[in-house]
């Protein structure tokens, strides 16, 4: 298991990506799966900064990568206020260009890219656990 803590700002996204890409490669994921992991983690970390902390440099993001029998398990941790993922509306897709509204693709990507996605909220912090199968 590898873990690291990153400052909650957008320039951390590249370092976070590098960190998870390396773990994903070590876990033996193929190129498409590595890209999927990178995308899910980038979207999740962006949400923590943008929606969780409500801006840059207001908190940290912990990241743990664990190679498991099925593939790669990734855990993102933050100390922002909790939110209700169930309450988030699905993005409106497959509509004419003029009707596209720029919102709501992040969670959609996370769910599409990963095989298991679980949000946990507790007084000690929030955890997003994601599994990508090999």
């Amino acid at each position: 298991m590898t873990s690291a803590v990153f400052p909650g700002r957008y320039t951390s996204l590249e370092s976070i990506s590098e960190f998870v890409i390396q773990a994903a490669q070590h876990a033996g994921l193929d190129d498409a799966a590595v890209y999927a992991v990178q995308l899910a983690v980038d979207e999740a970390a962006t949400n923590i900064i943008e929606h969780g902390y409500g801006g840059e440099d207001l908190g940290e993001i912990g990241c743990q990568c664990e190679i498991v029998a099925e593939g790669l398990r990734i855990r993102l941790e933050d100390h922002a206020p909790p939110f209700d993922p169930q309450a988030v509306a699905q993005p409106v897709l497959n509509v004419p260009l003029e009707d596209v509204r720029p919102r709501g693709l992040g969670l959609f990507f996370i769910h599409k890219m990963m095989d298991e996605v679980q949000f946990d909220f507790s007084p000690e912090g929030n955890t997003l656990t994601m599994l990508k199968r090999r």
């Binding site: 957008y10 996204l13 590595v34 890209y35 497959n94 260009l97 596209v100 990507f109």
Partner: protein
């Protein structure tokens, strides 16, 4: 992110290098705006050296496409890496862009 813009007679080519994530998307947006503010709305995005695009990047491109089409122009994408392209297709947004495998075709058809 490093971004080069080249103005041709028929169109402008924007060539970003690196990741178009929440940190890079505003830079890409600025580069696109620099072109459209000159009244030029035919833009080829040379994606050959873009390694990653998050939703923040796609929203910039969607916004640019809306704006350019309003001005009888267009944003076309060229040389997109497979993973990036697959994620665009997954959300059905590849329908919003003409996509070419070669710069010559992109520039010749815009």
């Amino acid at each position: 992110m490093e971004i080069t813009t080249t103005e041709y007679k028929n169109c402008d080519v924007i060539h970003p290098i690196g990741r178009v994530d929440s940190a890079g998307a505003p830079q890409l947006e600025a580069a696109i705006n620099a072109v459209t503010q000159l009244g030029r709305h035919k833009i080829v995005l040379d994606m050959s050296e873009v390694t990653f695009v998050s939703s923040a990047g796609w929203w910039v491109l969607i916004g640019a496409q809306k704006n350019c089409k309003k001005h009888r122009g267009e944003v076309v994408l060229a040389c997109i890496e497979t993973g990036i392209r697959a994620s665009l297709k997954l959300v059905g947004m590849d329908d919003y862009f003409r996509i070419y495998d070669e710069m010559t075709a992109a520039v010749g058809n815009i």
